[in-house]
Each structure stands twice: as structure tokens, then as C-alpha cells.
């Protein structure tokens, strides 16, 4: 909970009274939470708790029924998806969402923050700065030798990395990751944790994850969702020992 009298702009992201219902079912119900600059926040909770819906609401994929989402001084609920991205919010989807028919280079290039209008895209020049940046990111995501292969030929884990790379090139202030290590092999998980640790510097991150070991490694603060509401919030230590959390989520 925010300290009394705090200005909303003290936080990078302030979600207040957020509600969305589908045909009367309240997937997210009067939800409020705050994310600081450079904070790494992990959202956990059982299936159907509304975790992915929260990310959908923040990035504009789903329209809120009521409530507000403030990012810096901007009200995101009134903005289009692309405006939200330009404001500095990046989102990774749960299943790897990359362009199979383009090469790794082209995949990364599309996320390069330049030439995003129709005219801009027509006149976009692949200059040295673009090539260098793509090269640099490709190295971080372990794909620098495969720049000119089609993305369709990557493994599941590599596709996840590619999408993370695409977000990295986008350079958002708030990065939202939906289960980044799901479906990965053990060695891929270790590499991914390493990757995430490099890229979360200098930005705020909102992560949904089930892998508790992974959560413990990276989280500054944990929010536990249950049936669209916050069940508990605080440090990992605090949340782990909260009896309510143990009952609905950690207990099994």
C-alpha cells in the first residue's frame, strides 16, 4: 500500500481500482498496486487468478471496465496499444511470439525504435547504428551466429530468447514478461535467468512466473493474486510465510 500522502508520480506504475469483467465474470477485481523505478516485481498466483489479464490491461490488449493505470504521467487506459509501447512499456507474451517467416536479424530490426509510422517504415534505412545494435542484442540472447536464419528454425527456448531480444531492442522503461522460462529445459532456464539478470538493469520489470526458485532469485517484491484480487504482497520472505498464500498457492 502506498504511504499516505504520496504523489502518484513517485511510482513508475500506479494501478488503482482496476476492474475488468467478461460477461459478468470479474477476472480482475478492484486491483491496486504500485511499481517503483528499477523494481523487479513478480506476480504469482494459481491458474485463473488474473495474472495474464493484468498484463493485458496494462499493455492495452484488454480494455478495463473501470479503474486507472498510470505510467509516469500518462493514463494508459485511454491510450492505444502502440501509444503505450511508445510511452515505454514492453510486453513479452506467454508463448513465444516471433515472426517465423523473417530472419533473426529482421525480427530484431522490426523492434528497433525507429520508423514505426507507415512513412517511416517506407523510408527506413538499415544504417550502421541499426546493424550494430542488432548485432549487440543478438550476442546477448545467444543468437549472434544465426542472424540470417529464418526464425522458424529456432528451438522453443531460442524463440523465447529472440522475443526477449526484441524487447531489449525496444528498450522499454517497464518490461513485462509472461512466464519467461516456461517450457524450457534446465540448461535453458539457467541461461535465461542469466539473460534476465543482464537485461533488467536500469528498468522496472513485471514478471509472471510459476518457478519459485526463479522468483526467489530475481524478485524484489512479490504480489500474489487470487481470483482477481491481491492476496498478499511484500518481500518473498513475507509472502512465503503468509498462511493465506500457503493455503491457496504454495501449499500444494
Amino acid at each position: 500500500m502506498p504511504p499516505i500522502g504520496a504523489q502518484p508520480k513517485d511510482y513508475l506504475l500506479s494501478v488503482e481500482g482496476l476492474t475488468v469483467s467478461f460477461d459478468g465474470f470479474r477476472a480482475v477485481n478492484d486491483l491496486s498496486f504500485y511499481v517503483d523505478e528499477n523494481e523487479i516485481r513478480v506476480i504469482i498466483g494459481p491458474n485463473g487468478a488474473g495474472k495474464t489479464t493484468v498484463l493485458d490491461l496494462i499493455c492495452g490488449k484488454t480494455a478495463a471496465s473501470s479503474g486507472s493505470i498510470r505510467f509516469r504521467d500518462k493514463e494508459l487506459t485511454k491510450m492505444s496499444e502502440s501509444q503505450i509501447v511508445l510511452a515505454g512499456v514492453g510486453r513479452k507474451f506467454q508463448t513465444p511470439s516471433i515472426y517465423d517467416d523473417l530472419t533473426i536479424f529482421e525480427n530484431l530490426e522490426i523492434s528497433y525504435p525507429k520508423g514505426r509510422s507507415v512513412w517511416g517504415a517506407l523510408t527506413f534505412k538499415r544504417d550502421q547504428a541499426v546493424k550494430d545494435r542488432v548485432q549487440e542484442v543478438a550476442e546477448i540472447i545467444f543468437l549472434k551466429d544465426r542472424l540470417h536464419d529464418n526464425a522458424a528454425f529456432l528451438s522453443h527456448g531460442q524463440k523465447q530468447w529472440l522475443e526477449i531480444g526484441m524487447l531489449l531492442i525496444q528498450d522499454p522503461e517497464l518490461l513485462m514478461l509472461d512466464e519467461p522460462v516456461a517450457g524450457m529445459s534446465v540448461s535453458e532456464r539457467i541461461k535465461t535467468a542469466e539473460l534476465l539478470n543482464t537485461i533488467i538493469k536500469n528498468r522496472s520489470v513485471l514478471v509472471i512466473e510459476h518457478d519459485m526458485k526463479f522468483v526467489e532469485d530475481i524478485a524484489h517484491k512479490v504480489t500474489v493474486l487470487h481470483q482477481g484480487k491481491i492476496l498478499s504482497e511484500g518481500s518473498m520472505e513475507k509472502v512465503k510465510n503468509d498462511p493465506k498464500v500457503v493455503e491457496v498457492y504454495l501449499g500444494h
Binding site: K61, Y99, D101, N107, T123, N150
Partner: protein, 379 residues
Amino acid sequence: MKLAFLSRRDVLFLAVLAFLLLVVFPFALDGFRLNLVGKYLTYAFAALGLVLCWGYGGILSLGQGVFFALGGYGMAMYLKLEASSVENTKIQSTPGIPDFMDWNQITELPYFWQPFHSFPLTLILILVVPALFAFVIGAAMFKRRVSGVYFAIITQAIAAIMTILIIGQQGYTGGVNGITDLRTLHGWDIRTDSAKFILYFVNAVLLLGVILIAMFVRDSKLGRILVAMRDKEDRVRFSGYSVANFQIFVFCLAGVFAAIGGAMFTLQVGFMSPSLTGIVPSIEMVIYTAVGGRFSLFGAVYGTLAVSFARTSLSESFPQLWLLGLGALFIATVLFFPNGLAGIWRDYVQPTVDRVLKLRGKPSDPAWEAGKSSTAPAE
């Protein structure tokens, strides 16, 4: 325009096509056949638009005939007004208006015909009206995330509406007969053999120009964004692009291409009628594109020529067989050659050509490779 964006392979394809259109056909064919080729090529404009819109952008429009009509009727209206001078029409009860209006007891030229007295204005309207119309449809549909099958059905309905409207409003449009008896363009008689010869070249050069524009779009980042959108629309959206704007752009571009084709059709053939613009011609434009290979600009041109030639020769000798043949071609293309002639070329002919000419490197065209993974029949 700088052509630095073209790969060696593109330049070679372009040169071959230019040689074929500008040298081989004019020398090898008589005037009648050459005019026929010119007529076929006007449909290739529409097919080129569909390559970008459908092949690259994944937006299947079954209403390209509408844009073909807007261009074709625009040109026809200008020519008809010129042919309906007071002197030429003095036997009518109202001289100075097109004959079909007179037959339908219309006594005054309707307001939307007025701008077509001016040739420059006509040229502008031929490009602007289809673009605007495409923009309105595109904005209404794409901003609301309508795509795929729904978009195809709605564009087909629009083609149907347009045709019924043209046929129903005989007094304003010439009805089912269309606008006929066109004679001169700015005083120049377009019915003579020499005029037809010159118009063929104008048409061919315009077509090559449109191919260049299309190649520029395809090879720009916009072309790659189209492919990306077709594949993972949401990822593009959440990478900061307004997906709808890109869809609107490519739909408008395809519409303008088709309109240029329509205008050139009117000039070369000397009339424009609803039978060239309705549901069936619109779908035929899609089949030209599919037969040529929906990811290939050059394929679109060759596909149009191949299907049209087949139609002419088959329907001359075995009229009943033509429909069967066209239907079978449709099915065979979809089932067995989803990448059309371009796919056959790429898989069977290209390797040999490459060996002979020692061309190396990847094809510049990302969606070519794409075709393999995205449209190959599912196992």
C-alpha cells in the same frame, strides 16, 4: 528513383520481363493479339496489388474489381463526355450528354460527371477516388480489427453492391452495357491501329513502373512489417506499430494499382462495363495472383498472362471446357501449388539457372522462403 534497393536477381527478372513486353510481344504478335495482351496486362495491375495486400499482408480482398471499375469508369466517363459533344449528339433530345442518358430521359449531366470534362482532373480522380474509397473501407474495417475471412466476405459484398448499383442506375452509368462507343482522348483517336500500338507501350511501361514501386515497398521495412503482421499481428502491435495503418496503406496501394489497370483497360479496349468489375472478375484477379504465386510480383504478371491465354484459347475452341478448366486450376493451385508458378520456378528451374549464371546468395524476398513454412499443406 534510385534503384539501389534491387538485388541482381530482381534486375535480371525485370530486364527479362521488359524485353518480353517491349520487344518480343510487339514483334511477334499481330495488332489484334497485341491488343489482347495489353488487355490481359491491365488485370496484372490488380494482381500486383494483391501480391502485396494478400501475399505479404495476409489481407485477401475479393473486391479488387471495385477499384478496377473506379479507374476504368473514371477514364470511360472522360472519353464518353468527349465523344458526346453537342455536335456528335445533335439528334438527341438533349444534345451534349452521353447517349444512354438521353435514352433514359435524363436531361442534364449529373453533378458527379462534371469533373470528367477535364483530362488532368480525370487523371487525378482515377488515382484519388479509389485510394479514398479503399481508405474508408480500410479504416472502418482494420481499425476494428476485422481481417481474414470476414474482410474477404465484406469486400465481396461491396463488389456485389457496386455491380448491382451500376446495372440498376442505367441512366447514370450506362447500365449492363456499360459505357461504350468511346472514340478520342483529347482529340486523339484511340480506335486506330497506331493508337492501340502506342497505348500498348504506355500500358507496358506503366506496368513496369508499378512493379518497381511494388518492389520498393516489398523491400522496405514496410514489406517486412507486412509479413510480420500476417504472422503475429499482436507482436507487431505491441512493438509499437499501429497495425491498422499498415493494413490501410497496403489496401489503398492495391486499390490504386487496380484502378490504373482499369483506366488502361478502358483506353485499350474502348469500353467499360459491369461484367468486368463484379464478383467473378474480382475473384479471377485473385486466381491470377494465386496461379502466379501469391508472394511473387513477377509471378503475378506471368500468372495473369498464362491464365488469360489459356482462357482465350480454350474458350475459343471448347467453351464448355473453360469453366471446368478454370475450376480445376483453382483447386489444383490451392491444393498442390500454393506458391504457384513462382514456386515451381523457385523449386525446379531456379537452381539450374543459378548454376548457369552463377548467381549466389539468398533470394532478396523474405516471403519466398516464408511460403514454404506458412502455406505448405499441413501434415
